[in-house]
Subunit: 369 residues, 2 copies
């Protein structure tokens, strides 16, 4: 076989559904020498990251830590730890990630019912009310920012309904965390997971997860072992907690990156970060409308960090995206499932949520459509 | 809360059970800008990494790819994909990782029997022969280099016995891959997993896995879905294969690192890497004997990359390890389970397997014991 050369990745402007552009200060710490997962210096990094995660999740939860996998591992973590075979679970489905939740919950042996909406629409609290009146659910799970559709799902009313019936409220905040308010305590979210590669300006590879005491107690009172050893929080929390019992070798460099990314978010200020995402999103909508493009999602439920844009009739979807790569080094995302060929997905996330990126992309699109 | 400063990890010489020292060229690529997981440039990196993994695993298997988690995720990948509820599984247990295999297999619903040996001893082929005469097993699983004891398990005879009875042979090569021969095809290993943070000189975070056609066929013929969505190879192979169907967002930077680490191993040459690990190991044994220390494992079954050293009577285990950190910036590992307080574990792995590290550690130990 010929010798494979060193990688030389192109310099892309990442304006797709993730990964988002990583802040240079985060890239820098990735190259720092690795230390051991039980080194006192690493244990301090873990403690600090937990403390910063609590701030970003807006929670006082003791359990707030990064799982050693991507966002989907965080989703699986919440389901495998909270579900036992035969448990009733209600999932809101209006995109890829709600659909994935159903699949994951079923693989845990749950009896899953769904509340559904068209892809691109939000779920209505009334639908949850109706479902919760028919049956009692151990867990009700909803995606906050549906990356596949660009919808930001209102959560507070659903949370009240779930708790009125005694259920646990589980929220996917993979794409929203850091880019829009995710108020775990104020909104009474019992379990929440996210990813590093969206609004935290960090490479993909870890999944921040937080559970409140009610959720932790549910894990503690399980009759059966968690079906995943790798994602078993009862063991993982002993490593992250003061006991420091070895579970698996933490991905050291990724944890360096998350630490620095969280520092960046908190240095800017969480509220400022939310505002920046909102402002850049509004600028984006204004600018695309000037070149005849339209957002695919209704105004009040648009996720600021992930924008669905209608592909105009007669435009070759794949060709435009390929030309954006080839001629402008810009990545945007394709539509998925029923939205394939109908929308583009433009992520303005984390370090990428800047007005100059809006200008760059709109300038390029103007030439391609 | 006070402002948390940027991390400043100490410069350790990592001579514990892993993570091992990461080669500077690997650290460098970690800091390269991130690209998307469907970027044509990333797809090429994936193809090249698969090709290099095949070489390192010494296999022609089509399926050879890194799972997006650490070595334990690779273990779980093999078990969740190959086991269906009620399957009979035989596991060799003579340390932490064999014990972990039992736990993982049981969580998959397997009926698990074990073949056991004292921690620090190897399993005997005769034991497998006896167990396989009593019962038929779908899978027989063995750890190659038991990181908790320093034993390198001979595999070829066990492989013959397993295949004579029609079972699948599953091998944990987390610690051995790259540092000692792991001949997947020649030894007829049906499924094998490893980690990046041992003899590949890469940070922890990915788990290379390979399955041969017989194992892949077993996954394909499953009656039930794989219980883990995140680790479901039937979906993951569609992303790594030519179909490129999105599954989860690959940890881009970690995949950069693995690509560069594999390049490093193949540039040195796999055989040269095995020889270097062997020679440095032999130098280590010679040098510790000069200062009155003894290896805890019998000569013929010593794993070259992970050395168990008997702690002499009257020596304060924890204090020596702490002083190695504090005064010499050296990490070595403690004993686990029944070997706690009885052995130190000295890893001479990957980039760390160099004579100067032997000299550095022996020089330090001479002053501390």
């Amino acid at each position: 076989m010929e010798v494979i050369p060193r990688i030389d990745p192109p310099l892309r402007t990442l304006l797709g559904p993730g990964p988002s552009p990583v802040h240079p200060r985060v890239l820098q710490v990735m190259a720092l020498p690795v230390i051991g997962h039980l080194d006192p210096a690493f244990l301090r990094i873990m403690d600090e990251s937990m403390e910063m995660l609590r701030q970003v999740f807006q929670t006082k939860n003791r359990l707030a830590l990064p799982m050693s996998g991507t966002g989907s591992a965080g989703m699986e973590t919440c389901f495998v730890n909270l579900i036992e075979p035969g448990d009733a679970v209600l999932v809101g489905v209006n995109g890829v990630f709600g659909t994935r939740m159903v699949d994951v919950a079923q693989r845990c042996g749950a009896e899953v019912d769904t509340v559904e909406a068209e892809w691109g629409a939000a779920l209505e609290a009334e639908q949850f009310h109706a479902a919760l009146s028919r049956r009692s659910y151990k867990i009700v799970a909803v995606v906050h920012a549906e990356t596949s559709t660009g919808v930001l799902q209102p959560l507070e009313e659903i949370s009240r309904l779930v708790h009125a019936r005694g259920g646990l409220f589980l929220v996917d905040a993979v794409t929203s965390l850091g880019g829009a308010p995710v108020k775990v305590d104020a909104w009474e979210i019992d379990a929440c997971y996210s990813g590093t590669q969206k609004c935290l300006s960090c490479p993909p590879g870890l999944s921040p997860v937080t559970l409140n005491e009610r959720a932790v107690e549910t894990v503690r009172r399980r009759k059966h072992k968690v079906q995943s050893w790798y994602l078993d929080l009862s063991m993982i929390e002993k490593y992250w907690d003061s006991e420091r019992v070895y579970h698996h070798t933490a991905p050291i460099s990724m944890n360096y990156a998350l630490h620095e990314a969280l520092r960046g978010v908190l240095e800017e200020g969480l509220t400022s970060s939310w505002q920046r995402h909102r402002q850049v999103h509004e600028a984006f909508i204004r600018e695309i409308q000037k070149i005849g493009l339209e957002p695919a999602v209704a105004g009040p439920i648009r996720a600021p960090m992930i924008n669905a844009v209608r592909i105009p009739p007669g435009i070759d979807d794949a060709r435009v995206r390929q030309r954006l790569y080839d001629e402008f080094n810009i990545e945007i995302g394709a539509g998925l499932g029923p939205l394939k060929g109908k929308i583009w997905r433009v992520g303005l996330m984390g370090h990428g949520a800047r007005v100059e990126n809006v200008e760059l992309l709109v300038h390029a699109l103007r030439q391609l459509i």
